[in-house]
């Protein structure tokens, strides 16, 4: 029910050639189904049971998986609704739309599969597959830049993932030496069960491989280098999916292994690694924002910054994990919305240069307004959700007795804040460049985006009980 729809959509799109519009629509409807399925999962989790299925229960959906499944299916639905091939002049021809529908759905499918598969081996396979499928979509418009971006992405991404595989192998090796061959040995549950008896040094080595490997996909510095290129060159829906959930899914994999390692050698090791890489990411993200001329890259760097923030949060004990997960959800909502809006801006202005975009409020008032709101949300202002989650994160940091670290992060965030708000001003005001048609164009895509922003505001003002329950369960799982 969760995995079906995207797969179906992909097959349908692959089957029908040339592209027809109804594929887009069916796909959109299907995507809603999987979103519904995710919600059902959520209900189950709250009821307190963990769904498992398949031989050797290789599919398993606990709270963590559910959160990710929600994010993925939500952004997937957004992409399905707002992606190419829904009619209207969206700047894509049939072939491109078909390609998008095929690989986009596969991409979504793979991410969903990654988060619900109990077997870390399959998890790895799925994430590797996400690299391939998403890479296929980056050069939807073949240009030098997009080809370059996709090559960098696939090369760095594959190498990283390969290293993650090395990590998986090492972890398996550790386990095998402990308990001999077992068919279900790669099942996370099994690993967890016997984690406490694993050999510390080996599992630490394994975790390093895992962290570097999946960290590459998550956009952690210093393996983040592919991210700005890919995000800025990819078509809007793909950027949204990548920045919104791909990073989250990669982090998910890291968290799974973190749980194992923590059970084996205690939390200090992972905490220190997380803090080191997290702070580095925040710093690099923030400073890259200071002098930034390209708004899509701006968003990409802010994604790096937020991933780093989540990482730091994971290192700050249960409170921190709670905050990090909340932040992950908020960031998914905000960033995917932002990228869709950026896509609209790009479609109108034909440039990704900040200096080229002026008078956005005049040219497209609603898009501009939402864009502004989104930026304000991303830089963590009330009443948006990210303010609350960042706030909770700092609270956790002080509670965990790391005031200096928090001070540093606060300073870095201020740098990011000042830079981004400056860029925002340059885009919003002034007179639209010559040749830019004034007026809002097709307005209906704004509805779901507006809903996302509204959701952010809601998350900024309140924390619904079901969500709170879900997050608390996740904290138990992550075991930090």
């Amino acid at each position: 029910m969760l995995l079906g729809p995207p797969l179906l959509g992909a097959l349908l799109a692959a089957a029908v050639k040339p592209y027809r519009r109804f594929i887009g629509w069916t796909n959109a409807l299907l995507s809603v189904l999987s979103l519904g399925a995710a919600v059902v999962l959520w209900r189950h989790i709250l009821a307190g049971d963990v769904l498992t299925s398949g031989p050797g229960e290789f599919l398993r959906a606990d709270a963590l998986s559910t959160l990710l499944a929600l994010c993925v299916s939500l952004v997937g639905a957004l992409a399905a609704w707002l992606g190419p091939g829904m009619g209207g002049d969206d700047g894509y021809d049939g072939a491109q739309a078909r390609r998008f529908r095929i690989f986009g759905n596969l991409f979504t499918f793979m991410m969903l599969f990654a988060v619900v598969s109990n077997n870390v081996g399959f998890m790895w396979i799925a994430i590797e597959a996400t690299t391939i499928t998403s890479a296929m979509l980056i050069p939807l418009h073949v240009t030098k830049a997009s080809v370059e971006a996709s090559w960098k992405y696939i090369l760095i991404g594959s190498v990283g993932i390969a290293l993650a595989f090395g990590g998986t192998v090492l972890g398996y090796f550790d386990f095998v030496n402990l308990a001999g061959h077992r068919e279900a040995a790669l099942n996370w549950t099994v690993l967890m069960a016997s984690a406490s008896r694993l050999h510390p040094q080996v599992i630490q080595l394994a975790f390093v491989f895992i962290l570097v490997g999946y960290g590459t996909k998550a956009g952690l510095a210093p393996m983040h280098t592919w991210l700005p290129d890919a995000h800025s060159e990819a078509p809007a829906p793909l950027s949204a999916m990548m920045s919104g959930v791909l990073l989250a899914v990669a982090l998910y994999a890291v968290i799974r292994w973190e749980a194992v390692v923590n059970a084996a050698v205690g939390t200090k090791f992972t905490d220190d690694l997380f803090i080191a890489m997290g702070v580095l990411s925040v710093a690099i993200g923030a400073f890259s924002l200071v002098i930034q001329r390209n708004y899509k890259r701006m968003l990409a760097y802010s994604s790096i910054e937020h991933t780093g923030l989540i990482c730091v949060g994971l290192a700050l004990g249960p409170l921190g994990t709670f905050a990090a997960m909340l932040h992950l959800l908020n960031h998914t909502l905000a960033k995917s919305t932002m990228f869709f809006l950026a896509g609209r801006v790009l479609h109108r202005y034909r440039t990704t240069e900040i200096s080229g975009v002026s008078g956005l409020l005049t040219a497209m008032p609603w898009t501009g307004g939402l864009f502004a709101a989104g930026v304000l949300a991303v830089i963590g202002l009330p009443p948006f959700g990210l303010f609350i989650s960042e706030f909770a994160l700092f609270r956790a940091g002080f509670a965990a007795g790391r005031p200096w670290l928090m001070g540093l992060v606060l300073a870095l965030l201020s740098v990011a804040f000042v830079s981004m708000i400056g860029h925002l001003n340059r885009m919003l005001y002034g007179a639209p460049a010559a040749g830019v048609t004034v007026g809002e164009g097709s307005a209906w895509p704004l509805v779901p985006l507006g809903l996302c922003v509204a959701a952010l505001v809601v998350l900024g003002l309140t924390l619904p009980a079901p969500l709170r329950a879900l997050l608390t369960r996740i904290v138990e799982i992550a075991g930090s």
Binding site: E148, D174, L186
Partner: protein
């Protein structure tokens, strides 16, 4: 019995590593491809041996798959590409051969140092080969870094996977078959996608020199 086994496995893995070093030493893409092919052959051989002595019959299938995929299919595609881009056969790495050999030697040492706890922990007769596998992983990482042509980077990447496969085989007698098959599928798909991109690079840039992919900055 076990001694023979360990002898063979160590010899095989060292052969695998040596092919990697040969690749560093040679200059033409053709040589690269052949080195990679032979490496894959030896790798599948090692897998078969481990399967025989460790009487784990799944590994035979793995070996066969390896042989087909990495010693037959992929090399063929590689050769086709290599013929297509015949113009740029000669390549000049960032690091000259001598230095890169020295560096790779150091990397292998590093691999040894890193894998000490693994070797200490494991009881398998194949354990002595693991440092070599780790060394190969690092060396092929170095290959990817230091080579300029997209094609050679792909080859480096494939070698990296060989190294990992070797590690898996030596350390754990292979991961579960079904996962292994999934991995193979991914490798194939990944390779195909990379191939597509190499063609695209060649179309858009009239060359497969990665150096010129530097317009996206900051």
């Amino acid at each position: 019995m076990d001694s023979v086994f360990s002898q063979l496995s160590v010899m095989g893995s060292s052969l695998v590593l040596i092919f990697g070093l040969i690749l560093l030493w040679r200059r033409s893409v053709t040589a690269y491809i052949s080195a990679f092919t032979w490496q894959s052959v030896v790798l599948s051989g090692v897998t078969a041996i481990v399967g025989y002595f460790g009487n784990d019959h799944e590994l035979y299938w793995v070996a066969v798959a390896l042989l087909l995929l990495k010693a037959v299919v992929i090399p063929r595609l590689l050769r086709r590409m290599e013929r297509r881009f015949a113009a740029e056969r000669e390549l000049d790495p960032y690091v000259n051969t001598a230095t890169s050999l020295v560096i790779s030697g150091l990397l292998v040492l590093f691999g040894y140092a890193i894998t000490r706890p693994l070797v200490a922990l494991s009881q398998l007769p194949t354990r002595a080969g693991m440092p070599l596998a780790m060394g190969l992983v690092l060396v092929s990482l170095f290959v990817i870094i230091s080579r300029k042509k997209a094609l050679t980077q792909v080859i480096g990447f494939l070698m990296l996977e060989n190294g990992l496969a070797l590690l898996a085989v030596l350390g754990t007698y292979g991961i579960p078959l079904i996962v292994e098959l999934g991995v193979f599928l991914d490798v194939l798909m990944g390779f195909l996608v990379m191939q597509i991109f190499i063609y695209q690079i060649h179309e858009t840039f009239e060359s497969i020199d990665v150096e010129q992919l530097n317009r996206l900055r900051h």
